[in-house]
């Protein structure tokens, strides 16, 4: 019994030695600490300062054929898709406009059909041609949306003109009472009243603040752990550990504790700056916030250890960490929603700790509650699985080399 207690005591001393060593090493590099704490805050600060959420309207040229009967004044088209179109020119020069689109002088080309109202009176549908020249998928989607709004508005305009001209199309549907109905009501029989019921108003900084925060926590844990273990291996320190009565579990736990402490400290400072200085709301409870950070750190440390155990140089460890950061930016829902990806790709996205970190932190901070609680379980699962793999791998490494 006594020897068991002594053994546990020695074990704790060994684990604490790694924790203390890691933290001391970090503190001795003030530049690293400063960039760890201030870096994420500055990134978010600049993001909030520099990103307005305003997307410039598409530079648009409208081609109106001679007999179309539409206005040739750009201002008349400004309200067709409010805020989305910047109508630079209205002309009849289709070939010139197409060339300007190819040369990227304009973003959007709208070709109004000739005699649209007349075609409508004949019961035929006409086509509004809209073209754009974008390789950015986000802009591609926005252009599609703008087109939809534009076409809807143009349709309404055409019907309104036709109705105002005394067309009897609506009369056949609505009977003699139609003459009492204003043409714009026939053209737009319904209007929408919109409301956003989310507990916080949509705001770019509020939305991306927790995401950047989660990404920083993951990157911090992955990079520092990966580098730390690779350094131990390259410096020959592993031989010292092999000779000393240290187990792989003591080594791993010591490192985990060090980086958990560091992550919590960085999270606390960045969190205070995020909420206190940048004004990002924290509607949920602080203990749950701490819990998410700890789970995210735990899972991310596993990835860092895995990288450190496969990388054979510091350079490779950094490369793999950057690769993970890149994958996280693209697949975690940071830029594009995870559901936009193919189903098989979503499995990869959900294997990244930050995917769950972003979602749960956004929910907790902006909605006050974690709705996808299963994500916390996944974070724990990723952490446990990676810890077990790292432990097995480290046991092989720390054992007598072959």
């Amino acid at each position: 019994m006594g020897s068991a207690v002594t053994g546990i005591g020695h074990s704790i001393v060994r684990m604490a030695s790694f924790t203390g060593k890691e933290l001391r090493e970090l503190i001795r590099r003030p530049g690293v600490v400063l960039s760890l704490i201030l870096g994420p805050f500055l990134v978010m600060f600049l993001f909030g300062l520099g990103y307005s959420g305003y997307r410039a309207p598409f530079a648009t040229e409208i081609v109106v054929p001679a007999d179309a009967g539409f206005s040739r004044t750009p201002e008349d088209y400004a309200e067709l898709a409010p805020g989305r179109l910047d109508v630079r020119n209205v002309s009849e020069d289709l070939a010139g406009a197409e060339q300007r689109l190819r040369d990227n002088e304009i973003d959007l080309l709208v070709v109004v059909p000739a005699n649209a109202a007349g075609e409508l009176r004949e019961g035929r549908q006409t086509t509004i041609r809209v073209e754009w020249n974008q390789v950015d998928p986000v802009y591609d989607q926005l252009a599609t949306l703008a087109t939809s709004i534009l076409v809807s508005s143009l349709n309404a305009e055409i019907i309104e003109r036709a109705t105002a001209a005394g067309l009897s199309i609506a009369e056949s549907e609505l009977g003699p009472a139609v003459e009492n109905i204003p043409p714009e009501v026939i053209a737009r029989p319904t209007t929408a009243e919109t409301a956003n019921v989310a507990p916080t108003a949509p705001d770019v900084l509020n939305f991306f603040g927790p995401a950047v925060f989660a990404l920083v926590i993951q990157h911090l844990a992955v990079t520092l752990t990966a580098l730390s273990m690779v350094r131990e291996r390259i410096s020959g320190q592993m031989d010292r550990f092999r000779v000393a009565p240290v187990s792989s579990m003591e080594l791993l736990v010591g490192k985990y504790v060090a980086y958990a402490v560091l992550s919590l400290a960085v999270s606390a400072i960045v969190g205070v700056l995020l909420v206190g200085v940048l004004g990002v709301p924290l509607l949920g409870s602080i203990p749950v916030f701490v819990g998410i950070v700890m789970l995210l750190t735990f899972a991310s440390l596993g990835f860092g250890l895995l990288i450190s155990l496969v990388a054979d140089s510091e350079r490779q460890a950094v490369q793999l960490s950057m690769l993970m950061l890149l994958a996280s930016v693209f697949f975690s829902g940071f830029v594009l929603p995870v559901t936009d990806f193919a189903e098989w790709m979503q499995y990869i996205a959900y294997a990244l700790p930050v995917t769950h970190g972003i979602a749960t932190l956004q929910q907790l901070m902006l909605r006050g509650v974690v709705m996808d609680t299963w994500m916390l379980g996944v974070l724990l699962g990723i952490g446990v699985v990676l810890y077990a793999i790292s432990l097995l791998r480290l046991r092989r490494v720390i054992r007598t080399a072959d």
Partner: protein
Amino acid sequence: MHFDPRMSATSTEPIISARDVSRAFDGRLVVDGLSFDVAPGTILGVVGPSGSGKTTTVRMLTGTLGRNQGEIRVLGEDPRRFSRRTRGRIAYMPQLFSLYEDLSAQENVGFVAALYGIGPFKRRPLIRRALEVVELHDARHRLARDLSGGMQRRLELACALVHSPDVLFVDEPTAGIDPVLRKAIWDELRVLRDEGRTLLVTTQYVAEAEYCDSVAMIVDGKLVALDTPERLRKAVFGGEVIEVNAQRAVDPEMLTNVPGVLNVRQTAPRQLMVTTADAGTVGPVIIEALRRAGVAVAGLEEHQPTFDEVFTGLVEQQRGLRDADDAATEVTPNG
């Protein structure tokens, strides 16, 4: 003269024992059939040029590297399966500086002490003592990266000492260090030996064999010699060597028939190197023989060959034996 590489330096139960140990990397034999014992409370110096297999040997003995063949016992256990208790009695000082540059000297020693399970309160006096032994206590607050190369080696040594090990494996403690500091480090190692610890120390400086209780000379992974420094000297030169300086030119033939003289070499017109069975008794006989030949002796003293000479002699002997073996192998098939 042929050395028996299995010969133990002392007859005491060995703390470290290696038998026919070999290790190859990518099919190339780096350590080839090493056998030796290290008695308790002694220093075995493993001496050999760079790349001769010294570090590989130490790594096999500490259990950080496996072996392809042979038996090793350290404190009665196979290094590949050391118990925690045995690990606690062993220390290893690696060849390269592997401590943490961002930690102070004191923190580095403290970290290693903690690896051995020594708690914070018990640790403090041990750290102080270890740093005092290597004369680094005054520099205890300096970061390891700010220490000179010599101080870093001593810091490594302090880390190896902090848990009071019974057995120390010290890999090239003096590599790249100036002669004065090398002597100081060897003085420290000998103090540890005097405290009853057993040390296995590798070095590429042949002259440092002088500081050891027994010496294993390794060339190309093979054990060339294993004995005490004194006996190695005698063995290489076939006896004790006397340097004779005469007042005029002297002929070596004058001494060839003198009883007790085994070999005579002329190193200068007035100087002879005489190998004898016993320098103490043969010296006066040599003086008398030369006097009778009409040559007055200006000086006579026992010559202490340097270990560079010893090492060169051993390598030449080894090559001679190998050439002879090769020749025999070539002749045998035909007849």
